[in-house]
């Protein structure tokens, strides 16, 4: 009954529409299918189609457990009216985050299956970062930020970003630091015109495994990141910021291009007399591959939302007021960051700390109130789009042996001569580079090349030449 005459292109089209679980199951159909599913071009096609099945990825801190929490929600298309959700919350067991470290937050969203974690080690002035690949359950701790300030200068980590450079196939983490030339300043927070605030930006690239400073002169006069949610669109990160004006300060959007590591400034729309800037709450969002702004006046009980879209990137005049929706009653008074707004295609999701979720369908113009149980008391919502889908997060359990790997390896190294005698034959300078439930991995002769191979294994990148993304370091 079987048909073998279907052209390969058609078979791939069909396969690219399958959920990740099916693809994983079909990896054992034959070798060429298994290879196909790891082909970067196929994955890119699949991710594009999978965008219809977004899940919301809500990161937060479980204050009692002091651990990062991942909450995932089903596709909101399937939700019947007035449902109660039991959020599927996963507490990340991360042995590498020992007692002394306090979890802080996830940075940005998930890119190519990788998540960036930012955490705080007690007694350290500045945060640390780690990259996490849930599909293969591996963490990579980033080297500490090299801080060059003299000791009498106060500085603060004010924001971070996580992105991917598609040209060099590299993951990047950005940290924005603010510092003042007056050491006592940050303690008092009294505005002093003689105190100058400076910004310093450090970028980490995975390929070099190091941090370096980047030029932020174009935006050094701007106070950013602001309190609005940042967005990541087409390889460019965007934050809101406050620029000094002649009469008064005004809002702008600061952009950072992950590829050429250049800062830019975008103008916000002219909100005009509709909304009093003093009482306006704004959030950056993405709508239809454009930068968007969700704005409302938070004074009235019944809130009206204005959604602006920058139709042509970078052109202030192209800001168009696309939607005015509401009035919505029953949205309690919102102060700053307690309300989080996401635009998903044609739906607006408003998520509040207490678990209230309001879903507004822009095309159907219908509103739904949902209640999500189990949200942590402090969280940040962001989107997640990935080939490795929801199930992989649900099932992902840290590999206990893999996490002890570093300790096992160092202990073996400490064993010195005794352990090297175990390696017979021509193997000299054999380095023990990996431990997992399948055994020990050795690589000779160079530890550096072994590390690089491990890196490629842990953090798959899209290469221009199609290659197997998983390499076995043997």
């Amino acid at each position: 009954m079987g048909r073998s005459d279907l052209p390969q292109e058609m078979v791939e089209d069909i396969l690219s529409r399958l959920p990740a679980k099916s693809l994983k199951r079909f990896s054992c159909v034959n070798k060429s299918w298994s290879t196909l599913f790891q082909n970067p071009c196929f994955i890119a096609k699949h991710q594009h189609l999978s965008q219809k099945n977004w899940s919301i990825f809500v990161s937060g801190a479980d204050r009692e457990a002091n651990k990062p929490v991942l909450f995932l929600h089903p596709n909101f298309d399937d939700v019947a009216a007035d449902d109660d959700f039991d959020s599927r919350g996963i507490i990340l067991e991360s042995p590498f985050l020992e007692e002394a470290k306090k979890y802080k937050e996830f940075v940005g969203s998930c890119i190519n299956g990788i998540i960036c974690l930012k955490y705080y080690v007690e007694h350290n002035k500045i945060h640390d970062f780690a990259l996490w690949n849930p599909a293969i359950r591996e963490f990579k701790v980033l080297p500490s930020l090299p801080i060059h300030f003299p000791s009498n200068v106060d500085y603060e980590d004010v924001g971070s970003a996580f992105g991917y450079d598609s040209n060099s196939n590299d993951f990047k983490v950005i940290t924005i630091l603010s510092y003042w030339n007056d050491p006592g300043y940050y303690v008092t927070y009294n505005w002093d015109p003689n105190v100058i605030m400076h910004t310093q930006v450090e970028v980490y690239t995975l390929s070099t495994n190091s941090w370096r400073q980047v030029d932020c002169d174009p935006v050094s006069h701007i106070n950013f990141p602001g309190r609005f949610r940042e967005i990541y669109l087409n390889g460019v990160y965007h934050w809101s910021g406050m620029a000094p004006g002649i009469a008064k300060d005004y809002f702008v959007i600061v952009s950072f291009d992950m590829r050429n590591e250049v800062f830019g400034i975008l103008s916000m729309p002219n909100l005009g007399d509709i909304l009093d800037p003093a009482y306006v709450w704004e959030a950056l969002a993405v709508l239809g591959n454009c930068v968007a702004l969700v704005v409302f006046d938070y004074r009235p009980t019944d809130k009206i939302f204005h959604i602006w879209v920058m139709r042509e990137y970078g052109i202030k005049e192209s800001w168009t007021k696309q939607y005015v929706i509401g009035p919505f009653s029953g949205i309690p008074h919102i102060a700053g960051s307690e309300l989080q707004i996401l635009l998903l295609g044609d739906k607006i999701l408003m998520v509040e700390n207490n678990g209230e979720v309001i879903l507004y369908n822009l095309s159907a113009q219908k509103i739904k109130n949902l209640r999500v149980r189990g949200l942590p008391s402090l969280f940040r919502a962001s989107q997640i789009m990935t080939v490795v889908e929801v199930e992989d997060f649900v099932k992902a359990q840290p590999d206990a042996i893999a996490h002890s790997a570093a300790k096992i390896i160092s202990r073996l190294k400490a064993g010195g001569e005794k352990t090297s005698n175990l390696f017979v034959g021509d193997v000299r300078e054999a380095a023990l580079i990996g431990v997992d439930s399948l055994g020990f991995d050795l690589k000779a002769p160079s530890e550096y090349s072994a590390e690089r191979q491990l890196n490629d294994l842990l953090f798959p990148r899209i290469h221009h030449k199609p290659q197997m993304m998983k390499q076995t370091p043997k």
């Binding site: 009954m1 079987g2 058609m10 069909i14 099916s22 199951r25 298994s34």
Partner: protein, 238 residues
């Protein structure tokens, strides 16, 4: 007297179809030929049989007229029409895919590929190989390794009578139930098994039971079939 322009299409088995130009232009391939002035005589389509071509023309007709009229033929109605239209057997579906590809009718290609995708997403690898005539070139050890790496993807879903709850269980456990075991081994089922006669509560109990058996078997103690699973096995045999 109709002033509407028509084109003539000829299928591989010699059938002739006269179609309005606007309808025929749903196919980008035919559109190109018309625009290049190659469509004065009948356009031969050697890769498409008459039966399939008539279906493609039906699709194009339906989708042209709805883009003309002011969407009074709503999206929902069109979707409903599509659903009914695509309710054909798998061979026809595959032929439609190839015709839609050859004639470059994007909407039809999306519809057919999506339909096949939906059809196969719950299938087992064995069923997929049968469907696409694929030879398994993995050695048993290699295949075992791939399965192990992706163990969670091979879980069997048991759905209760109202398809409200789904229980994911490992294959070994599902096989404890004789009926399911037979279904799996005869390649009779996808990885989602509906159990029409069983409610969630009972199903939960049964699964708990099976778990214990599997654990007991692994620890090499004597398994004893409990009453619950015996009771359930009987209605399942229906």
């Amino acid at each position: 007297m109709s002033s509407v322009k028509k084109v003539t299409l000829k299928s591989s088995d010699g059938e002739i179809f006269e179609v309005e130009e606007t309808v025929a232009m749903e196919s980008q391939t035919i559109k190109g030929l018309i625009e290049d002035d190659c469509a004065d005589n009948a356009i031969p389509l050697p890769n498409v049989t008459g039966h399939i071509l008539s279906l493609v023309i039906q699709y194009c007709k339906e989708h042209t007229s709805s883009s003309d009229s002011n969407s009074s033929k709503s999206n929902e109605k069109l979707k409903a029409w599509d659903t009914q239209f695509i309710n054909v057997d798998l061979n026809v579906l595959f032929d439609l895919i190839m015709a839609a590809n050859y004639l470059n009718v994007k909407g039809l290609l999306d519809l057919t590929c999506q339909t096949v995708a939906d059809m196969i997403k719950e299938k087992t690898p064995e069923q997929i190989r049968a469907m696409f005539n694929i030879v398994n070139d993995f050695t048993p050890e290699e295949e075992e390794e791939v399965r192990r790496e992706n163990a969670w993807a091979f879980e069997i879903s048991l759905k209760n009578n109202n398809v409200v709850d789904t229980f994911e269980v490992e294959e070994s456990m599902a096989k404890e139930l004789q009926t399911i075991k037979n279904m799996i081994e005869d390649n009779y089922t996808d990885s989602v098994i509906p159990l029409h006669n069983v409610t969630s509560d009972i199903l939960e109990l049964v699964i708990e039971d099976c778990k214990k058996h599997v654990e007991a078997a692994e620890s090499e103690s004597e398994p004893s079939y409990s009453l619950a699973s015996k009771l359930i096995d009987d209605p399942l045999k229906a």
